[in-house]
């Protein structure tokens, strides 16, 4: 490639990178961020976005330049130069993506490992998905798990899940600010999926299994709490709220109407 065309391709690449960056910044992509785990997920999101903008502007500028510059004249029936390949170039475009991919794997793995931890001071909350509503249960301190690993959801005589009376229950997810929470999820009938977009965290609730998820709310607010796994006719309506409040307020709420 001659220097002149290289400069032109670079200019196109810079222009496209600027447009892509503008799309990334000015379009409101991510919803509000309200959890510590969300901060790490957002970091991965923007890291991958930066890599993708780089790849996009290189690929797009080369194609735009090539397609404009090398279009055949209407009556030109000749062939292009018989270039069959170039080992150096081929190695380059194998190795550079490989390095970028490894970087993204490392960043993602670190964020995932941190988000998956169950901190020692975490508060336990149990979540039951059922057609078509969520049931959130707050076990009393120091209570023991049953064989299935739950405190609040026990198997009755007909194998159906019963909610223990000693647990406070709520249709909404109510959480105290800045307190790491370990969610223990299961489902009564079919698979459901826990998602609060502002927390970024998502986890399926599977009948017969226990799945876990850590959330540390960092912002007071009232957020949508949605089922994201198709669970039947009422799937679209299976949405409630996740409410984050001050510690003291939360304690008061928890005592109110406790069974």
């Amino acid at each position: 490639m001659r220097a002149g065309s290289l400069i032109r391709v670079l200019l196109v690449a810079l222009l496209l990178a600027a447009i892509a960056t503008a799309v990334a910044i000015f379009v409101p992509w991510l919803p509000d961020q309200a959890s510590k785990e969300g901060e790490r997920i957002d970091f991965v999101f923007w890291f991958v976005t930066a890599v993708c903008i780089a790849i996009f502007s290189v690929v797009a500028s080369l194609s735009v330049y090539s397609l404009i510059k090398f279009r055949a004249k209407p009556d030109d029936d000749s062939d292009g130069p018989p270039v069959h390949g170039h080992t150096g170039i081929e190695i380059t475009w194998t190795v550079i993506p490989l390095i970028l991919v490894i970087a993204m794997i490392v960043v993602s793995s670190v964020a995932l490992a941190q988000n998956d931890r169950d901190p020692s001071n975490s508060m336990r909350v149990e979540v039951l998905g059922q057609q078509f509503a969520w049931l959130v249960a707050y076990p009393p301190d120091g209570a023991a798990e049953d064989m299935d690993g739950f405190i609040c959801f026990n198997r009755g005589p007909d194998n159906a899940i019963e909610v223990a009376e000693r647990c406070k229950t709520s249709p909404n997810l109510v959480l105290p600010l800045d307190q790491p929470v370990r969610l223990h999820l299961t489902a009564r009938d079919v698979i459901h999926s826990f998602w609060v977009p502002e927390f970024r965290q998502k986890q399926d609730a599977v009948p017969g299994l226990k799945t876990e998820l850590t959330v540390t709310p960092t912002k007071i607010g009232n957020y949508p709490f949605i089922c994201t796994e198709l669970c039947g006719l009422g799937h679209a309506l299976m949405r409630t709220r996740a409410i984050v409040m001050q510690q003291s307020e939360f304690e008061a709420w928890r005592q109110r109407g406790a069974r």
Binding site: W29, F56, P82, V101, L112, P197, Q201
Partner: protein, 649 residues
């Protein structure tokens, strides 16, 4: 060398007309639609008898149990009766029973009139056209369902269809597009082109080829019929336990997948044997066009992976109809087992749905840029790399499913690694256009459009491969955007590139170039207007598979729905162009694109058995710009080439 239609004549010149028909016995008992009309109910009756007989002998109540009768009689026995009536098994049965088999009078080859497309035909060229037209029919049916889905989603409230119908619409839409359009459309194009490209007179097993085509309409009709037995509304993924608790119509999907899967497997075996054993002299593996390489790797994927989805759907059906408990943990099953088996097919399936497209695009870009494909060997090897890696990434669909958390890391590594061979292909296509003489004909527009859409779909795939982002984006409209960029902007665009590219070869007529370009630009703009905003609303918090949603996404959804209707309308241009051009288009020359691969060295359409003399392959398939180079020679001009080779050495 070029051979025109005039020199070779139409197919009828080669084959004697079938024997004159003799009376009512022939009409009733000979293979054909009249025999279908009585054999299909007969076989249904046999299935009915088996079920009722067993239940009566065992003393089960009720004796007439319709769930089992429909599965055994209507979904298993009746289709076999249909195939038998049509004559799919005639040759094998006659052979097995020691009866005289029908002599090879070539009457099963070629199409003399339009009705020949509606019978068992063993000509790969006829079967290829049967495949392509059938799959376009189901594409339009599936597209209509997408229009209804978008009509419901135009406004946030539930105001158009009821929830059950809505769930069935998107489930059947996806099933038709995957099993009745993308996968078989590629099989159809390759059916037509691949034997020509390797210099073979037909596929290795022509009768099997005919059978595998006729399994398709059975599968498609079953999926459509699920609407009348509500309902198949668990999504095409059909996750348990939801699928087991669905109404009875769900078994229509389970069984349709068996028929479509059997069709895929037979075709893939046929391709493998054809490619391995029927290449023309001189056609080494490293001289095969990339389309042949692509179908070779795809066929390996199909043969290895498809039995897994067949198994997973049998398990679901057994759980549903026979009350087994493969996936109920309370009864010793494992709920995530379904997802593992299902995705062990369905992830390789996305490569089944894109590798043949890679092959088509390689052909088109090289020919239309007038340059050899850049890095041919690496292009072939990257297909093999995708084939191998493709089997090690299935659980990236399950990052939030509740499987062992550590399993997400190896799955993320393989998932992101697969971006490397895919990137190699994109870079090689771009390098092929570099310094070329690019001819922006309709097939080239579709091929380049594919590359651009596939880059966007590939980049959103990187987001989804990174586990933390996938945890946020999983099961949202971001996923819907991603799959449509790779399957619609990806696979569909390559199918259109292939249809326009080989339309002159398949029909012997040219399509209308202006309408082709209009079709492309309208579709291209509408695809991006429809699917790009889905990234945004998905990331912002709109889950998929809902008929009503948060009003904050109302404006975007209205915009998406209007774009989707434009997208739907754009295909009417395509249908009009194909129908009118096939009937009245100008005659196509043998080699309108000045291509070097073998299918362009014979007339349009090709002679009955493709080659009147076996071609001798003497070089690579993409020798554009190399003075005097040829991919293959026929007897007539062999001396010329030998001369050239002497000069070279």
């Amino acid at each position: 060398m070029t051979v025109t239609v005039d020199e070779h004549g139409a197919p009828e010149a080669h084959a004697p007309s079938p024997a004159p028909r003799r009376g009512w016995r022939h009409y009733l008992l000979g293979p054909g639609w009249i025999r279908v009309l009585w054999m299909t109910p007969l076989f249904f009756g046999i299935g009915f008898g088996i079920v009722v007989g067993i239940r009566a002998l065992a003393g089960w109540d009720p004796v007439i149990f319709w769930d089992a009768i429909i599965v055994v009689g209507a979904l298993t026995a009746a289709p076999i009766g249909f195939l038998a009536g049509l004559g799919a098994f005639d040759y094998w049965l006659a052979w097995a029973f020691g009866q005289p088999t029908r002599p090879e009078d070539h009457s099963g080859h070629g199409a003399r009139r339009w009705t020949d497309y509606f019978r068992i035909n063993t000509d790969h060229k006829v079967i290829g056209i049967q495949y392509v037209t059938t799959t376009i029919f189901f594409f339009l049916a599936g597209g209509l369902m997408a229009m209804l889905v978008r009509a419901e989603l135009a406004r946030p409230e539930a105001d158009f269809v009821d929830p059950q119908t809505y769930n069935e619409l998107f489930s059947v839409h996806a099933s038709l597009m995957i099993f009745l359009f993308v996968i078989p459309a590629f099989a159809g194009l390759a059916n037509y082109v691949l034997p020509l490209m390797i210099g073979a007179p037909d596929m290795a097993f022509p009768k099997l080829n005919a059978l595998s085509y006729w399994l398709l309409p059975i599968a498609g009709i079953m999926m459509l019929a699920s609407f009348f037995f509500p309902g198949f509304g668990a999504g095409w993924t059909n996750y348990t336990p939801l699928s087991v608790e669905q109404p009875f119509g769900n078994v229509f999907f389970s069984m349709a997948v068996q028929w479509a899967g059997a069709s895929s497997i037979m075709t893939a075996l046929n391709f493998l044997v054809t490619i391995i054993t029927m290449r023309a002299p001189g056609m080494t593996f490293w001289r095969m066009p990339l389309l042949v390489w692509a179908n070779f790797t795809t066929s390996l994927l199909v043969v290895i992976a498809t039995p897994f989805i067949a198994g997973s759907q049998f398990f679901v059906m057994f759980d549903k109809v026979m009350h087994t408990n493969f996936f109920d943990i309370g009864q010793g099953g494992y709920p995530l087992g379904y997802q593992h088996i299902f995705w062990f097919y369905s992830h390789p399936a996305v490569y089944i749905m894109i590798l043949p497209g890679f092959g088509i695009v390689s052909e088109v870009i090289s020919t239309m840029s007038r340059k050899p494909i850049f890095g041919y060997r690496l292009m072939a090897l990257s297909l093999v790399a995708i084939l191998m890696l493709g089997f090690s990434v299935w659980a990236h669909h399950m990052f939030v499913a509740g499987m062992a958390p550590w399993l997400r890391i190896p799955m993320m590594i393989t998932t992101l690694l697969i971006a490397v061979p895919t990137g190699i292909k994109v870079f090689s296509w771009l390098a092929t256009t570099w310094e070329g003489k690019i001819n922006f004909s309709t097939p080239m527009l579709w091929a380049l459009g594919f590359v651009s859409q596939f880059v966007i779909g590939g980049l959103s795939g990187i987001y989804l491969g990174a586990v933390p982002i996938d945890i946020h984006a999983s099961d949202t409209y971001f996923i819907v955007a991603h799959i449509h960029y790779v399957l619609l902007g990806g696979s569909l665009f390559t199918i259109f590139a292939g249809i326009y590219y080989w339309f002159p070869k398949m029909t012997g007529r040219m399509y209308n170039e202006q309408l082709g370009k209009l079709h492309f630009w309208l579709t291209f703009l509408a695809v991006n207007a429809t699917f790009f905003p889905m990234h945004i609303i998905g990331i912002q918090g709109m889950p998929r598979r809902v008929y009503t949603y948060d009003p904050q996404f109302g404006n975007w959804n209205m915009f998406i729905s209007i774009s989707a209707f434009v997208l739907g309308a754009s295909f009417l241009i395509f249908v009009y162009n194909m129908v009118v051009s096939w009937a009245r288009g100008p005659r196509a020359p043998a080699n309108p694109w000045r291509g070097q691969t073998l299918e362009w060295q014979v007339s349009s359409p090709p002679p009955l058995f493709n080659f009147d003399e076996i071609p001798q392959v003497v070089g690579n398939p993409y020798e554009y710009g190399v003075p005097g180079a040829k991919h293959a020679v026929f007897n007539g001009d062999r001396e010329v080439v030998e001369e050239r080779e002497t000069v070279r050495t």
